[in-house]
Symmetry: C2
Subunit: 233 residues, 2 copies
DNA sequence: CCAAAAGTGTTCTTTATACACCCATGT
DNA sequence: ACATGGGTGTATAAAGAACACTTTTGG
């Protein structure tokens, strides 16, 4: 028996992988986390962290495990994006990929390459290098998902520090939506949601009126969500 | 060599299936299409049409093929819902399922059981029998998807005939959203979208003022969509 | 004092909500 | 004629958009 081919089935089966699209925000632009592939195929190309599903883990657990192994990121809340199944999308044979995405506070984590990855690095969306496989299509899907979602769910806060100013939040919304918002109306509207807790602290060392810090009232949001209210910006 | 086990791989692989959640509307309630399973596991139980992925087809093509084989439905526009990957969700072993959903005009199609299915039948959402596998969880996911979607995209028209009256459309919205809407405000709002074409025909044989027929202006909707407008009810 | 950006208030327009009322059709 | 549900109008309230003005900070 060929010991390198010990798993045999009556019908052919595809390989299954999970990939992670991790977004961050540097205060100005949205960034996405890529790894440089160490192995063929596409060695040297940039790609999303991800890898093959083990038989005893869900696709979500697989995505988290691979994310940790390749970038050092841990305890990230990921959400399923889409499953890519086109035959021919991977030169190794039939591979289907379940893609997950997450929005994280870049400062909470430090990135370190490991495993299959030569390096892991943040790229802003206008400087994305050529990607392996069909990953640029996956990226497009992820971007349009967060664009659609941010209008109706308070996912923006996941990208900012625990404490943040309203102008910072506005720059984030503008970066994701790609539009300019009126500073004054944005301020009033975001306060009107009742989901911000004002802190007794202002931003220091700015040569103009210092903006206040706020934090996001997650408990209140969860209460309101359960009652079926809807957030909207 | 064991001819029933001719596909061998270095690492174990899960089986992959595609399932279809097909919604219809009978003028009063939302219905969903189920098949009665002919084979084990769960023989005799109701389930969504679906089956194993072939190696030369995408998961979407697989879903359409299985839908046709098991119910006779053809040319249905399906959309990916979610991929279910929990280990243990299928007694046959590790199976992941990519679920698709569709909204169809029940009158356009006639349903006929075939293949793995003893029969295919529409069930209204308050009369769903016990389902095979984790299909009741999948159904919940599909219902909450269409509830979320109908507010912002004109998917309701897919469930109605080519020509329909505004009160019919309203009953559909009420069935999906589970709320009562004001007849008069609904009328004005749906007309204000500019996406309905008024036909020179009224509903016949009703013992009250006959409502006009309308059709959905798909071309206009696509034009407006491209310009980034957003539909909202 | 000045520049720059934060924060507040005010006006105007648009949209949403709640109904009163009229209209057409079959019995 | 009347019951039934379709269709129109209108008044009020709430939300959104535009923008003038005031406040705070560092230089």
């Amino acid at each position: 028996m060929d010991s390198t081919r010990e798993y045999c089935y009556k019908y052919p089966r595809p390989s299954v992988t999970s990939d992670c699209i991790i977004f961050g925000f540097d205060g100005d632009k949205i960034r996405v986390l890529l790894i440089e592939r160490a192995n063929e195929p596409y060695a040297g190309r940039w790609a999303f962290p991800g890898g093959f599903l083990d038989m005893d883990e869900s696709a979500e657990d697989c995505a988290k495990r691979e994310l940790f192994e390749e970038t050092g990121l841990k305890n990230v809340f990921i959400e399923q994006l889409y499953t890519f199944t086109q035959p021919g999308r991977d030169p190794r044979g039939r591979v289907i990929t379940i893609a997950y995405y997450a929005l994280i506070k870049q400062t909470d984590y430090s990135i370190t390459a490991g495993d299959d990855a030569k390096q892991a690095q943040w790229f802003s969306l206008d400087e994305i290098p050529p990607l392996a496989f069909d990953h640029s299509r996956i990226l497009q899907a992820a971007i349009s998902r967060i664009k659609g979602k941010i209008r109706y769910q308070p996912i923006g806060f996941e990208l900012l520090n625990e404490k943040f100013t309203i102008p910072e939040l506005q720059r984030l919304y503008e970066a994701i939506l790609g539009v300019q918002l009126d500073r004054r109306n944005f301020h009033r509207k975001i306060i009107a949601t009742g989901l911000l807790i004002q802190l007794d602290e202002k931003k220091a060392n700015v040569s103009h009126r210092a903006p206040r810090y706020f934090s996001f009232d997650k408990e209140k949001y969860e209460q309101l969500s359960r009652r079926g209210f809807n957030f909207e910006i």
